[in-house]
Structure formats: structure tokens, C-alpha cells
Amino acid sequence: MLERFGFKLVPRKAVPGYFVFLVSFGAIVAAIVVTGFIFWIYGVNPFAAYSTIVERTLLNSRGLSEVVRKSIPLLLAGVGLVLAFRAQFWNIGAEGQILAGAVGASGIALFVPLPPFVAIPAMFVAGFVAGALWGLVPAILKVRLGVNEIITTLMMNYIALYIVRWLINGPWKGDSVVGFSYSDMFHRSIWLPTIGNTRLHWPTLVLGLLLVVLLAVLITRTKLGFEIRMLGESPIAAKYSGVNVLFTTTMLIALSAGAAGLAGVGEVAGIHHRLVEPNSISLGFGYTAIIVAMLARGSPVAAVFTALFLGWVFASGDIMKVALGLPFQITGVINGLVLLFMISSEPLLRFRIARVSLKNPETAESETGTV
């Protein structure tokens, strides 16, 4: 169609980093603008709404700590997904892996009496293992039998959700709670320490940042990282060059799911201090982590920033609820819009518009980048 006007789409050879950033940023701005219309429909002045949100989330220390606090689980789960997506494993199951991690940590906290300096690491280990096991089921089904991982990881989310509900209504229901479904409170000594009087449980944050560094090094500097990239870009080449595809993929996914498990540990040991309703443990962090990973476009370091952005969206959700009387579900709308605009802007990264020249018609060599 464009040819008619003397233009055509030419596949880009290489996309400069600043341009990727600009396009992603544009997608986010578009989502924010559309959300502004939703505010307006709800009878809230969008400019007033956004200035309230910015004031209460970014311009005061309490708000800022909430942004960071909400980005902790997003970072852990998101950076794990960066890894999984790199290996072309569509893990939609971070939500369930977070819950599995929460259950693992609660099991230690409630039933294994340990001194605090052992108990806290033990909770993290248990959470990591539980999350990893939760991810291993779909991983093994995928690599051994080719079972669609999108559906299995999703089903595992629902299974985790109902197992948590069963635990807090049945075997793990606290003796001290009447009329509510929680476990007993964890012993005070094993609550994760926080910074000042905020809810920033820093050990989990440190773990998240360590994981980012670890994965960044792993992907760019090690043989395993090379294999991962090869797996993502050409599984067949990887296989013929001697990569143990089954083993490598399985281990990657276990690591990815374990990271989400750590996020679950942080939520129960750092925030709630007991096993609670699944929808309170995770406010959809596992699903949002997908957006964190997609926006980060395969880079663990970029995931720090995208996690902060989506943490800000969640923190804004609280402000919208409290200060503007808008329902919290608006965060889901914003998240969906960000993802929609981001994916729609993909062609901008793959093609550029050029004048039609007569000499060079065959630019058909596809240069579809990883998404």
C-alpha cells in the first residue's frame, strides 16, 4: 500500500539501543494517555489525577518506598522470566511459582523451629526450591513431550492458588485466628528486616539485585549463557553443536521459577508474616512480571528499571484507590495497555520506512529480532 506513495518498509539491520528505549517509552506514554481517558470517563480530571499520583508515589519518601517495595517481587519474577523467554519457554506461571515459594517459606516458618539466622536463609532456600519444582513440571512436560507450556504453566497457577486456599482453610489454618483464613503469624524473630519504618524488606531486594548481576554475567560471559542464546535463536543449531537441550532448558526454567519462588518468600516473610489469601500474597505480580520481562527485551539489567516502572503502576493503584476513589483493577488495565502498545510498536523496531528505490528490491532477508 505504501508503495503507491513512493515509500516502502525496509527491514532494519540493527536497531540502536536509544531507539528501542524511545519506542518502549512511547508505548508507556500511550498507555498512560489512554488511562487518562479512563480517569476522565470516571469523572476524575486526568491531570489532577496524575499530579496526585506523582506527588504521592515519587515525591515523598513513603510513596517512593512503596514503589520499590512493590517492584521487589516484580524484579525477582521478571528477571527469571527474562531468562525463560530467552530460551523460548513461554512461562506464564510465575504467579503460581510465587505462591509455591510462599508456601515453601511458610512451611519452614510455621513448622521447623530454627534459630533466626538459620531460619531466614532456610525460608529463602525452601521458597526457591518450591518455586523451581512448580516450574519443573511444565518444563519437563515441554522438553520431553512437547506439551504446550503456556497452558500448563497457567493451569499450575490455578492449582497453586487452590492449594494455598486449602492450606489456610484446612491444615495450616491458624489456631489463633477465628473467622479468617490465615495461617498463624510467623515468629517475630524471623520477619524479614525492613528499612526504617517502611515495608521495604531489603534482604529480598538485595537477592533480586544479586540475581540480576548473576544472570547478566551468566548470559553474556559464560558458556551456559552462550548456549541459552543459541537455544533461543536456533534450537536446532544448538542441538547439533552439542548443547544438551533437554538439560539446559530444564535447568534454566528451574532457575527462572525459583526466582519467582523467592518473590513469594519476600511477600510472606517480609510483608504479611503469615500465609494469607493467594490474591493478597500476589496482586498479580506473576502476570505483571511477564510485562517486566517483555519490556526488558532480554536484558536482566533492564529488568531493574522495568520492574520499578511496573512497581510504580502498582503503587499508583493504591493511590488511585485511596485518594481518587478509583478501583484497584485499573492497574490491570494499565498493564494490559502497556503490553498492547508495546507489542504494537514492535514493527517500528523491525522496519523503517524508506523511499522506494528501483535498484534494490530484495530486502526480503528477514531480520525478525527476539521479541
Binding site: L154, Y162, V333, G336
Partner: protein
């Protein structure tokens, strides 16, 4: 179990399988044309909330259902624009629709939560057939008209798919878009129409839930049914008639989890259908390789002319 308990189980399983069937039929057609739609859950839940609101506001359940269908179609239009016209990643696009749909439905349905629908869809009992012993009470008494329309639609789609020219075109587009293009079929248009049709079906499935089966609106009331519809698509090997059986099977699982609540903790029963979905997909995979059981060859691959 007593006999009438058995027939009752069958009857409720049939009722429960209906939304799964509608959504799965739509998805089967879309995937046959080569497009995966992970937005089914979002389209269902949007259909449910809009269907409920329109029915409640007007007192006309069938108008509500129409709006549910249109809502699903509109959401599918977004998906098809991104996935087909822009050629972006279909998985992410569908997923975004689901995240967006779950959020938006919660937002617009907030003030309607918990209201009983004033004029819900009424039960129908098939005259004559309902008198047949066992089968009558099991399949022809106190069902919703959508159940039967869904079953007939399954038959029609099966016929269209295998015995008509549009069906042939649809399958060609899904199996070999290059070949379809070569004989002058507009691949993108066929795919868009099919995806929009699929969204329409998902919307009706959602509308059935909020207007007929459980005439009310609750946040996230589809509860993963859209995902199960996607699993049914695979389990049914992309065949509309097999989808009837598969949906019934899952419907029975959902209903049994209600029925057995006295014996087991309800939460553990509720997770049965989800567990079974994994088991079913594993069984299908154990049975045969992907090609042998007829997954459309170009499934999930955007078509761009001039690319192989």
C-alpha cells in the same frame, strides 16, 4: 449414586460444558486459520460483564447476549489487528488482551457485583425428548437454549470445515498460507474474520455465564475457563465435534467438584479440572507427535508475503 443423581450430574455437566464449548469452538476455528488467541479468557470475561450489564439495564437477556458477542468480537479485532496486520507476537498480544480484559471488566463491573440478574435466561425443556427415560432428565430437561445452539453450531462448524469451500480455504490458510496466497486467497482477511468470529464465540460463552448459568456478575467469574477452552482445542485435536465431548468431560469435572464437596475439602476439588487439563494435554502428547494429530502447520506464525 442413585440413578436420578447420575442423570442430574449429566444434566449439570452439560450446562457447565456450554461456555467451554462456545469458547473452544471459536478458538478451534481461529487456530485452524493459523492464529492462536490467548485472549479467550479476557474476551469471555468482557462478554460476561457487558452481557450482564446490558441485560440488567434493559431486562432483555438476549440483547445482553448480543452485546456480549459484540464485545468479544471487538476485543478479538484488537488482537487480530496486532497479530495479523502488524504481524506482532500472537502469544503476547493475546495475553495482553486477557490482562486488559480482566482489569477492565473489574473496573466497569464494580458497581454491579453481587446483584442478581432481574430477568435471566429461562430454562428450556425439550418437548417429547424430555420424556425419554434417563436421557430425558439427563440431557433435555432444564437446560438453556444456548446449550443446544452450541451443540448444533459444533455440527455446523464441523461440516463447514470439512465439506465446504470456505472450510477448505480456512484450513489452507492455516496449513499453508503461502499456497493460499498463491491461489489468490487473502490470507490476512480470512484470518481476521476467523479470529473475530472466535472472539464472538468467546463473548457468548462469557455471556452465558453471567446471563444464564449464574445470572450475576462477579469479578473474574470466568475463573480460567478461557484457558481451559484453549486446552480443549488441543485435546479435541482441532475438531469441532470432538470439542463437544471434550467440553462435556471438563464440564463433568467442574460439576463433580461441586458434588463431592461433602467428602473432600472443596478447594482440592476445585483444582481438579485444572490438574486434569495438564493430564489431558500430556496424554495427547504421549499419544502422537504434533504433526500426526493435526495441529495446523502454520499455527502461531504470522504471515508476511515474501517471507518463508
Amino acid at each position: 449414586m442413585e440413578l436420578d443423581q447420575v442423570t442430574y450430574t449429566f444434566a449439570r455437566a452439560l450446562a457447565f460444558s456450554t461456555p467451554l464449548l462456545w469458547a473452544a469452538l471459536g478458538e478451534i476455528m481461529a487456530e485452524r486459520a493459523g492464529v492462536v488467541n490467548l485472549g479467550v479468557e479476557g474476551m469471555m470475561v468482557l462478554g460476561a460483564v457487558i452481557g450482564f450489564i446490558v441485560s440488567q439495564a434493559t431486562g432483555l437477556p438476549y440483547l445482553g447476549l448480543l452485546f456480549a458477542a459484540v464485545t468479544g468480537a471487538l476485543a478479538a479485532l484488537i488482537h487480530s489487528f496486532i497479530a495479523i496486520i502488524l504481524g506482532a507476537n500472537q502469544y503476547i498480544s493475546g495475553l495482553a488482551i486477557t490482562i486488559f480484559g480482566l482489569g477492565l471488566s473489574g473496573l466497569i463491573g464494580r458497581t454491579w457485583v453481587g446483584q442478581p440478574l432481574q430477568a435471566p435466561m429461562k430454562f428450556v425443556t425439550v418437548p417429547g425428548l424430555s420424556e425419554v427415560p434417563i436421557l430425558g432428565p439427563a440431557f433435555f430437561t432444564d437446560q438453556y437454549i444456548l446449550t443446544y445452539v452450541g451443540l448444533v453450531t459444533a455440527g455446523l462448524l464441523w461440516f463447514v470445515l470439512y465439506y465446504t469451500r470456505p472450510g477448505l480455504i480456512l484450513r489452507t490458510v492455516g496449513e499453508s498460507p503461502v499456497a493460499a496466497d498463491a491461489v489468490g486467497i487473502n490470507v490476512k482477511v480470512v484470518r481476521m474474520l476467523t479470529v473475530v468470529f472466535g472472539g464472538c464465540m468467546a463473548g457468548i460463552g462469557g455471556g452465558y455465564l453471567s446471563i444464564a448459568y449464574r445470572p450475576s456478575w462477579g469479578e473474574g467469574m470466568t475463573n480460567g475457563m478461557g484457558w481451559i477452552a484453549l486446552a480443549i482445542t488441543i485435546f479435541a485435536l482441532w475438531d469441532p465435534l470432538r470439542a463437544v465431548l471434550a467440553s462435556f468431560f471438563f464440564g463433568a469435572f467442574f460439576f463433580l467438584s461441586f458434588l463431592l464437596q461433602k467428602m473432600f475439602p472443596p478447594e482440592l476439588l476445585t483444582l481438579m479440572p485444572y490438574t486434569f487439563t495438564i493430564v489431558a494435554l500430556t496424554l495427547v502428547a504421549l499419544g502422537k507427535g504434533r504433526r500426526a494429530f493435526g495441529s495446523p502447520e502454520a499455527l502461531g506464525v504470522p504471515y508476511k508475503r515474501g517471507e518463508r
